[in-house]
Symmetry: C2
């Protein structure tokens, strides 16, 4: 069993209206030292496989096929064993 922790972020060149809205809310609450906010997704997947290399390949394929939009998003992942 492997756990994959995947982080999907908008590419730096892509506008992030959700992040801008959160920044505005933080400023309204008095946190005026917040200069920028970017929001992404984190996904935890539990994979029923014993082969680490195979698990990594499959997670990478899942990111490309479904979990991230490669046009506007970057992704990265790491694997943890047996949790």
């Amino acid at each position: 069993m492997y756990k994959a922790i995947i982080t999907v972020r908008l590419k730096p060149s892509v506008l992030d209206p959700q992040g801008t809205a959160v920044k505005g809310s933080l400023h309204s609450l008095g946190y005026s030292d917040v200069e920028e906010v970017r929001i992404g997704k984190t996904m935890e997947l539990w994979l029923n496989t014993a082969d680490r290399v195979e698990a990594g390949k499959r997670v990478d394929a899942m990111c490309r096929q479904l979990l991230a939009n490669p046009v506007i998003e970057d992704y990265e992942y790491r694997l943890e064993e047996g949790s």
Copy 2:
């Protein structure tokens, strides 16, 4: 300047319908070894402050006040300097 990387996840006891939907989609694509999927948020904040301890306190307060819902979500964060 500090960068805070915040991860907000649903508590383990809280149902995650979005994760269940993604798991279903992955199974449809042939990734039947995916046992569970949990989806959370990751936020990157740039803070215009020079004091690491103060930055940590402010990020923690922001999480409690706005960025996470403490009833159903857990949060964690780490700080990186000068990026």
